[in-house]
Every structure is written in structure tokens, then in C-alpha cells.
């Protein structure tokens, strides 16, 4: 700037233009530089002669800046007649990028338009913006990660809900099965039992008696199997065994159970030793079931080891 031709005092307009603390340019409508001050020339490392009449303003920008100049700056100057605070990087002769802020006004002088342009260095603003951009990028990355995690969580929850719905479906199905078993199968079995009773009173020959006995015992076994199946299903569903507790005479109950079992295991001697009062609270069905299972188990063992005695208390 010491090369300034303005020799007059500090108020001289020429010196002010040339040495202003900002870059000042005048360009044609197409961007061709018509005038440029020394400040700007110093900033970009070029002589005025390299720029005036030879270089367009946009040629001094980065490629991104040049696209922006054509897609935004140009139309704005045509329609609005001005732009302000446009942030563009100017490329120094040595290739360095110089962050700058631009203001420009379009004026029509005697039929032809010129653009009057002021440029300010914005190094610090550039650095600050760069930091902001980096910080935002980091924040966006964190947000993306967070959203990814949330999505994975939602997917896992959806899978859990799906599995739960499947389990509920299975449970519902099993319950329906149980209803079928308990009502729809038990009913015909009780009809068979009742009919067998009626037949027993109608004077059968020995062959028919034997057949009827098989009918009755098969019916009893089918009824027992259904009861076991119900218990098993309840166990699988997790509702637990059904137990109806009532006041019972335990000794009478055991007598009743053993009477049946003696018929079922005619080769085994079953002895009932009563101890204590016998009156208690419990489930008659479950106790009969328990005794039946124990006796069946013991009977099988006895068959293997003839003569042995087993006790149950």
C-alpha cells in the first residue's frame, strides 16, 4: 500500500479507496473486474494489471464459491440488486484459501450496469464457523448413533412382544384343548359308563360279562388318561394342578382306592394298616391318584422280585 499514487492528505478520496481497510471492486454485470483497490490486490497476491479487464470476480473463488455465485449471487443481484454478508473463500495466487465476507450493490449508470463490491477478511469468523461445523457434525453423529441404538431397542422390544403374543396364542390353544378334553371327551365316556351299568343288570352270559368287564375297565382307563392329560396341560401352561380341598376320612378313602387296585392287580397282596384318626382336609381325587401311582409302582417291583415286601406310609 506504500505504492499508492495518492499523495494528498488522508481525506483524499482516491487514497481512501485504494487503501481502505477492505477490498473494493467494481465489476461488469458478468463479473469482469473493472476497478480494484490495492487492499484487495494485496490480499489475493496479485497486481491490479492481472485483474482489471482480464479476470472475473468469480474466477478468484473456490469451485464451491463459483457455483454459489452463479446459482445464488447472480440471480440475487439481478432481482434484488444487492447481496450482503455472503461468505466466500477467495483463492490467493499461491493457492491459499482466504475466508472473506462480501457485500455488493448493482447500479445502472447510463444504461450499463456495474456491481460495486466490498470484501472483508473473515479469518476468525472462518475458524469459528469451522469449529461450529465440526461440532455440529459430531453432534449429528452422536444423534445418529443414539437413534440407531433406539431403533435396535425398538426392534428387540417388538421381537419380545411378538414372542409373547405367540406364547399367549399357544396358551390359549392349550386352554381350548383342555376344554375340549374335559367336556367333549368326558361326556361320551360317561355315557359309555352309564350304559355299561344298565347292561350289567340285564342278565348277561359269561362271555358277555367278560366283554362288559373289559368295557368298564377300558372306560375307567380312558377317564384316568384324560385326567392325567389335563394335569399335564395345566402344568405346561403354568396354571398348576387343580386341587379341590375338602374334609375327608383318609382311612375310608384308602379303603376305597385299594378295593379298585386289588381288582387291577389280582396277583399282588395289598394290605391296609390304619394308624391315627384318619379325618383330615385334602383332595380326595389327588390322594386316590397318589395311592394308585404308588401301588402301581410297587406292584411292578414286586413282580420282578417275588416274595419281597414293600411298605408305604
Amino acid at each position: 500500500m506504500e505504492g499508492s499514487s495518492a499523495a494528498a492528505g488522508p481525506s483524499d478520496a482516491g487514497a481512501l479507496y485504494n487503501e481502505a481497510p477492505c477490498g473494493l471492486l467494481v465489476t461488469a454485470d458478468n463479473g469482469l473486474i473493472q476497478r480494484v483497490n490495492q487492499t484487495f490486490c494485496t490480499w489475493v497476491g496479485r497486481e491490479p494489471a492481472e485483474l482489471v479487464g482480464r479476470c472475473k470476480l468469480q474466477d478468484l473463488l473456490t469451485m464451491g464459491g463459483r457455483i454459489f455465485h452463479q446459482t445464488h449471487w447472480g440471480p440475487l443481484m439481478q432481482i434484488q440488486g444487492s447481496v450482503s454478508e455472503v461468505k466466500l473463500d477467495v483463492v490467493h495466487k499461491d493457492g491459499r484459501k482466504l475466508p472473506t465476507v462480501w457485500n455488493a450493490v448493482r447500479r445502472v449508470h447510463g444504461g450499463s450496469a456495474v456491481h460495486e463490491v466490498a470484501v472483508f477478511i473473515a479469518e476468525d469468523r472462518g475458524k469459528y464457523e469451522h469449529e461450529l461445523v465440526l461440532a455440529r457434525r459430531r453432534a449429528e453423529e452422536l444423534l445418529a448413533k443414539e437413534q440407531e441404538t433406539q431403533q435396535a431397542l425398538r426392534a428387540a422390544q417388538a421381537e419380545r412382544d411378538r414372542q409373547q403374543a405367540l406364547a399367549e396364542d399357544r396358551a390359549l390353544f392349550a386352554e381350548q384343548m383342555m376344554a375340549i378334553v374335559s367336556h367333549d371327551l368326558r361326556n361320551p365316556l360317561s355315557v359309555i359308563r352309564m350304559s355299561a351299568h344298565i347292561l350289567a343288570r340285564s342278565g348277561l352270559n359269561p362271555k358277555q360279562e367278560m366283554a362288559l368287564a373289559r368295557l368298564v375297565s377300558s372306560n375307567a382307563r380312558a377317564t384316568r388318561l384324560i385326567a392325567d392329560l389335563l394335569d399335564f396341560s395345566r402344568g405346561r401352561i403354568g396354571t398348576g394342578l387343580e386341587v379341590e380341598v375338602a374334609d375327608i376320612d383318609f382311612h375310608a378313602l384308602v379303603d376305597e382306592a385299594l378295593a379298585d387296585l386289588r381288582v387291577a392287580f389280582p396277583d399282588t397282596t395289598i394290605e391296609h394298616r390304619r394308624v391315627g384318626a384318619g379325618v383330615c382336609r385334602g383332595s380326595a381325587d389327588r390322594l386316590i391318584q397318589l395311592i394308585g401311582n404308588l401301588v402301581a409302582l410297587v406292584a411292578a417291583l414286586v413282580a420282578d422280585r417275588a416274595g419281597h415286601q414293600f411298605g408305604a406310609a
Binding site: 446459482t71 448493482r106 464457523e129
Partner: protein
Amino acid sequence: MPSGAADGGWRVGVDVLKRNNVHVSGNGPATMVFAHGFGCDQHMWRLMAPNYEDRYRVVIYDLVGSGLSDLACYDKARHGTLQGHADDVLEIVERSAQGPVIFVGHSVSAMIGMLADLKAPGKFAAQVMIGPSPCYINDGDYVGGFERGDIDSLLETLESNYLGWSSSMAPAIMGAPGQPELSVELTNSFCRTDPEIAKHFARVTFLSDNRADLSRLQTPTLILQCTDDLIAPQAVGDYMKRTIPNATLRLIENTGHCPHLSAPSASRAAVDEFLGGLAH
């Protein structure tokens, strides 16, 4: 009211005319639809569109994400390709056009118009493409004018320029010399842009490649090419002329990407000549 032409079920209940800030004017047996390019909005057509109002029904609109369009309708999936904008065009045409439709698309909207045409063959009587480019990035022998890094450089520039979004571009600051007719409404919306949408739209625009579609376009097409246009160099105009079956190429002596603003009379003359030729 007919249902939307393409993918009409998208965002049920959205009024297409509001969504795209559609303005209809003029009278005529045919309709001209003007679509602005990347960076600005429908006000780009102020030196062009009004001249056709005495002969044509004139439709101007803002691309979703630009100008005074409904920004809530900007859908990064739908508008993640130019086809989404093309589907918008078909909905706008369905709602607002009458008679044969002439689509005038600037820059990226030229390709949007072509994609709409290809999706609804016969819907358009003519395509006018101002400064079009089917692919901005150089690829082998193909000269698009840019390298991938240039687009990143543009995204950086966009990142530090919020433009009208923060209202810093309002000309009141600069005194708007010689432009007394400008309305406040215009100055506040022109080039207004949501920074996030601007970046996304810049990517969609400058990374698009529609070269393979050009040869399928059967509609009579005018390519208006500026002699000195950074965004669409002459080589691109030549390539398009060679590839589109029914294309006319007209050069306009002009520096920049917007001849309809900086050389409006030459642009109008070229369009008039083309439209006159269609009639015969």
C-alpha cells in the same frame, strides 16, 4: 377433482397447490409450466413468464423445499431423487394445467421435467430446458464440468451461507438501489432456504445422473444454452442435443446460469421461435 397423477396417496390431505406455492395466471388454449432451478424460487421467472400470459395459461411454482413451498412436505426419501420432484410436477399439472402442457425447466428442473415426461408419456407437448445438465460430474469422456470434490466445496459454501433464512440478504440493508418495485414479500422469500434442505437438495441435484434417460425422451425439446455457463458448459448442451431424439439447441450470448434473468429478451425470442415451430 381427479386424484393425483403419480403416487397421489403420499401425504394424504396435503393440498398440492399450497405445497408447491402454485400460482396460475393468463389465458390460452395451452399451459406453460415454469419450474425454477437450484438456489432460488419462482420469482426467477418475473422477466419471462408474464410475457406469455396473453397467449397461455401460465403456471409457476416453488419446488418443495424452496421459496414459499410447504417445508414440512420436504421428505428426504421422496425428494432424495429428482423423481420425487418429477412426481410433484405431475400432481401440479393434474391440478392446474389445461390443454397441451409446455414445461419450461431451469437447470435441475429441466431434468425434473424430463423425468415427469417419461413417467407420463404424452402428458407434455414440449420441453424447454434452460441451462440443463444430465450429469454435473465428469465421467470418462463425458464432460460435466465438475469433480466430486467441487460438490463438497459447494456444500461447504452453503454451510456458511444461510441466505434469506436468517434474513441477512434482505436488500433493505443495502438500500435496494434502483429496485423500487420489489415487494417485501419477494425480497424476503427469494433465495430463502432452510440450510438443511439446501444441503440435501444440492447433493440430490449435483450428484444426479440422468444421461441414460435422455434418449428415451420423444417430446420436442428446446435446449437453451448460455455461451459462458459454469454450471452447464457448452459441451453439456452439445451432448444433450446429440442424445435427445427430438431436440433443438439454441445458444444465448450470456455469462452465467440464468439467461431468463440476465438476457430475458434473447431467451424469450428463442422460446417464441421454438413454440412457433411446434404449431406447424
